[in-house]
């Protein structure tokens, strides 16, 4: 087969695949909306440019920071299933599993806090900004305590920034199975730190304490001066490990969008920094208690264990941003 024919076939297959993904997501959105009554539909739908709704997310419980849209508690079983199917359609298998585990952790927290009504899997909200479409941009938001997914969907593209993930407890056991919703984020970063030589570690490890996220909720569009070790000073294996850490966030969204995002971040890798603050070891099977940040021209990742509630290994906040393209800003500019 000639190179031209191969290229044409690739383009055709890509277009067909993209259409399938875009159509699948739009169909899931339509199916969810079809389960709602008129009042519920009004509650869940917002204008695409609704600036207030875009930023109505937080790491805090919904009793502290009110969310808008429809909570899982307000939906019947069919509606709830359709809502979660929509969320699932936009995410990768692992991404959706992570979301479920974060929600499950909040259920565990509720149980652990004497059935505290402030927590639990019912208190996650879904909202849609714009009109779901296989081609035109729209935004799906899903979140509650320790979770804020802001996914701009435009055809096959899925822009997952800004997104907050977290967990408390960040390690729990159900049916004999130990679950760490952000365990890979912890383990892979520590493995990267351990793969650095002494000179590199001196650059990567910051000499000061980081008590919290720097670019958490309410800090959209800001780019701070990067610090730590630049990936251009890493070897091939270390750079691959860095990309693998990044994948834990970039890979939350569906596979086609994740591949495009990873290609972008790989191209930026030479200008990407890795910084660490805090203990450089972790107990076997436990999460790190150190803060780390990965920052590039189109990326900010922060992993910030929290002292609140005792052991910082059991309470984690994490942030994933593209300061140049939060809420799909670049799409709106076109």
């Amino acid at each position: 087969m000639s190179r031209l024919a191969t290229s044409l076939l690739f383009v055709f297959l890509s277009a067909a695949g993209a259409q399938t993904i875009a159509s699948r997501i739009a169909s899931s959105a339509d199916a969810f909306l079809a389960t709602l009554d008129q009042k519920q539909r009004q509650t869940v739908l917002f204008a695409l440019d609704d600036a207030q709704q875009r930023v109505r997310w937080s790491n805090l419980p919904t009793g502290f920071v009110k969310r808008a849209g429809l909570s899982m508690r307000e939906l019947n079983a069919t509606q709830r299933s359709a809502a979660l199917s929509l969320v699932s359609s936009v995410l990768s298998k692992r991404g959706f599993e992570k979301v479920q585990q974060i929600m499950q952790a909040d259920g565990v927290l509720k149980h652990n806090e004497g059935n505290n009504p402030m927590f639990g899997e019912d208190l996650y909200y879904i909202s849609i900004l714009g009109t779901p479409s296989p081609a035109e941009p729209w935004i799906l938001q899903f979140g509650g305590h320790h979770l804020a997914l802001n996914i701009t969907i435009a055809g096959e593209r899925g822009i997952l920034t800004p997104t907050l993930t977290g967990a408390q407890p960040a390690l729990y056991t159900i049916d004999g199975k130990t679950i760490r919703p952000l365990g890979q984020e912890s383990d892979k970063a520590l493995a990267l730190l351990n793969a650095l030589d002494e000179t590199q570690r001196k650059q990567a490890i910051l000499s000061y304490r980081l008590a919290d996220l720097v670019l958490g909720p309410g800090q959209d569009g800001k780019t701070i001066q990067p610090e730590g070790l630049k990936a251009s000073g890493m070897n091939e294996r270390q750079r691959a490990m860095l990309l693998d850490v990044i994948w834990e966030w970039a890979g939350i969204v569906h596979e086609t969008a994740a591949a495009a995002r990873m290609a972008e971040l790989k191209a930026d890798l030479g200008e990407t920094w890795f910084a660490w603050s805090g203990p450089v070891t972790a107990a076997p099977g436990a999460n790190i208690t150190a803060y780390y940040r990965i920052q590039g021209p189109h990326l900010v990742i922060e992993y910030a264990p929290q002292r609140l509630g005792g052991d910082p290994a059991l309470h984690v906040h994490a942030m994933y941003r593209d300061p140049t393209n939060d809420y799909g800003r670049k799409l709106a500019a076109k």
Binding site: N59, V108, M118, Y208, D212, Q225
Partner: protein, 212 residues
């Protein structure tokens, strides 16, 4: 995806606390540096356990209401607890705006006080050094300080240095197009001009006289 918590759950976690800030007063500052001006935004979040201490300082008359007079006075006190120097010269931060949450929000550890301030920067040499120190509620404070990547392409950040608690932050940067003279070099320039003028006058008086 409802989890049936009636299923036997073995929690490895000890009894967890609730989800808000507790025994620290988080004070996060983001600086933005320009050629002749520094802008900054402070976000102050008192933890639940330290809130009474913070409130006592804000609500001076202890009536349970934060009046405009009180929050203005408190914001001013926060700024007075800051120290800002550029190339060793002290500069004064001026409040641009302040936003206070409700007392209930702060009581629950979720209320963020936002204070924006700015400071004029004196002209200086090409390589500059800014030192920011925050001594506000130092016994309770957990500090974060960062600088935005400068929008002005003529400014390039060279180094950021902090103490462990981040109560002290030093920003070294290079400002293209700035004079290579130090601020105190004006006197030297005047002296040089005086010497040159004297020398010229001396030469003028000693010039050979020709003519008829």
């Amino acid at each position: 995806m409802r989890t049936c918590l009636s299923v036997a759950i073995l929690l490895l976690a000890p009894a967890t606390g609730i989800a808000h800030r507790l025994d620290e007063y988080l004070q996060a500052t983001i600086l933005s540096i320009g050629k002749d001006r520094l802008q900054a935004e402070m976000t102050l979040t008192p933890g639940v356990a330290v809130f009474p201490v913070v409130l006592a300082e804000i609500d001076a008359d202890a009536d349970g209401v934060v009046s405009e007079t009180e929050w203005r006075a408190y914001a001013g006190r926060v700024l007075r607890d800051l120290s800002l120097t550029v190339d060793g010269h002290s500069v004064i931060p001026r409040m641009v705006s302040a936003r206070f949450p409700g007392i209930d929000e702060m009581k629950e550890g979720r209320g963020e006080i936002r204070i924006e301030f700015q400071a004029n920067l004196p002209r200086g040499r090409r390589s500059r050094s800014l030192v920011f120190e925050n001594r506000h509620q130092s016994r309770l404070g957990a500090y974060l300080v960062n600088c935005l990547v400068p929008r002005d392409p003529d400014i390039r950040i060279v180094a950021q240095t902090r103490n462990y608690s981040q109560s002290r932050y030093q920003l070294d940067y290079v400002q293209a197009g700035a004079s290579t003279w130090r601020p105190g070099d004006g006197a030297g320039l005047g002296l040089l001009a005086l010497v040159l003028c004297t020398r010229l006058a001396f030469l003028w008086r000693r010039r050979p006289v020709t003519g008829t």
